[in-house]
């Protein structure tokens, strides 16, 4: 099998101004930080982002928001990123809030070739606005449409050279299903292994749907700034 391992520069050739980009992560944790650094350096802008939250100002998609590279975001939560909130109030960042389960299902629909799904989530709330409502067996549901992207930026634990990837514990977060819902899937991993080292049950996303594997060169598992601050505070408090 041909190798899908690329340099960061090669990965960045697929990322362009104005694209819709999914960021696999969890509030900025577990994200493809080195590719994001590359996007900042390359000057990528006008991004339509899809991410479970706006990250944090120093982490994940939050770093791109802070530098005004993101024009809109489809998300479930921006509470950990005051910069995103300020840009939203200032009309600089367009934010579409959707419930988290709906977020997951819409992306899953995009990846699974489904035209949408019916969810009870949001019935009787403002989430209904502009959406078709259907009644099935006497219960109301909203028709939610698929989400799909030009590029998905995925963070995984390990990859093999063929492009199989594996996560550790909650590291799958939103990374696992976003890999199905993009034209180009770029995965940033901590560790590269040979084909065959990941067993049939260890592989979380199969090689054929991964386009590029980038191996992180910096620290393998950096604790994020929020953690570092909270830890410093906790330890300071003990004194």
């Amino acid at each position: 099998m041909r190798s899908k391992v690329v340099t960061r520069e090669e990965a960045l050739t697929k990322i362009k101004d104005g694209q819709t980009i999914m960021f696999g992560d969890w509030h900025g944790e577990l994200s493809a930080e080195e590719i994001i650094t590359g996007m900042l350096e390359k000057g990528i802008q006008n991004i339509s982002a899809i991410a479970v939250s706006a990250g944090m100002p120093d982490q994940g998609v939050g770093r791109l928001i802070k530098e005004h590279r993101v024009k809109s975001i489809v998300t479930t939560h921006i509470g950990l990123n005051p910069v995103a909130r300020d840009q939203m109030f200032a009309g600089e960042l367009e934010v579409e809030f959707i419930p988290q389960g709906t977020f997951a299902e819409r992306i899953r629909c995009g990846g699974a070739g489904l035209g949408g799904c019916l969810t009870p989530t949001g019935i009787g709330t403002d989430v209904e606005i502009g959406k078709q409502k259907l009644t099935i067996n006497g219960k109301d549901y909203l028709l939610e449409l698929p989400l799909y992207s030009d590029v998905a930026l995925i963070k995984a634990w390990k990859a093999d050279t063929a492009g199989n990837i594996a996560f550790r514990l909650t590291g799958r977060a939103t990374n696992s299903y976003m890999a199905f819902a993009a034209d180009i899937v770029i995965v940033e991993v901590e560790e590269l292994v040979e084909v065959g080292e990941l067993g049939p049950e260890e592989i979380d996303v199969a090689a054929p749907i991964i386009d590029m594997v980038y191996v992180r060169t910096g620290e393998k598992k950096p604790f994020c700034l929020m953690w570092q601050r909270a830890k410093a505070k906790a330890e300071g408090g003990k004194k």
């Binding site: 939560h77 909130r85 019935i123 009787g124 550790r168 514990l169 799958r172 696992s176 994020c224």
Partner: protein
């Protein structure tokens, strides 16, 4: 647990809703405090939206694992027998009715069981996260909340004025002053904290509520 007051009392009362083996989702803050007041012999499966079934207590910083975080992105742990699952599966559990109970904080709750806790337009816009899915999919939704705002205004209203998180979904409302059950015809005052009377609750509650013949003591 007599003698508890304030938020500790709320958490302790909410904890009484659970039976051994229940699968629950507890919001950040007072709801999560419930685990400190579980009756003897009651073990819960605690869910975290990111995809944990069987969350344990917060680890020490030196034991924290960057690949093991909770719904808020904080270090997490997993109990013996606990597991991780995909984020889509996590919400299949929530939306599919597999979770026995959720305890949520709120900005407002009303006598129809409507809950508003995700935004104050123009002021506070964190987003709904997983709260709307919990409201839509979990059978028992316990609202754990201070009875009033710091300003003294009632949080238990005739009708929510903020955008809703869930329509007619609350099944129980627990404050530091009393416990209301949400019935088909309105909210029913079931228990009073020692020191509170029906009249005192009426004075600090905008919502109408039903007063049954027998009212228990909340503790």
């Amino acid at each position: 647990m007599a003698g508890l007051t304030g938020r500790a009392l709320i958490a302790a009362r909410c904890a009484k809703f659970f039976k051994n083996g229940d699968f629950v989702n507890l919001g950040i803050g007072v709801p999560l405090m419930c685990v400190n007041y579980l009756p003897e012999g009651v073990d819960l499966w605690l869910e975290a939206e990111i995809g944990i079934v069987g969350c344990g207590s917060s680890p020490k910083w030196e034991d924290a694992d960057p690949d093991l975080i909770d719904a808020g992105g904080q270090p997490a742990s997993i109990i013996k027998g606990g597991s991780v699952c995909d984020h889509t599966t996590s919400f299949a559990l929530i939306r599919g009715g597999h979770i026995d109970a959720a305890v949520l904080g709120t900005l407002q709750v009303d006598q129809e069981g409507n809950i508003a806790n995700w935004t104050i337009p123009g002021k506070l816009v964190p987003g709904m996260g997983g709260a709307m899915d919990l409201c839509a999919g979990v059978k028992k939704i316990v609202v754990a909340t201070d009875h009033c705002e710091k300003s003294g205004e009632s949080k238990i209203l005739k009708k929510c004025t903020l955008p809703l998180t869930g329509a007619k979904c609350a099944t129980d409302i627990v404050t530091e002053r009393c416990y209301f059950e949400v019935g088909a015809d309105g909210i029913i005052l079931r228990e009073l904290t020692p020191g509170y009377t029906v009249e005192k609750i009426r004075a600090c509650t905008e919502a109408d509520f039903i007063v049954p013949e027998k009212i228990g003591v909340m503790e």
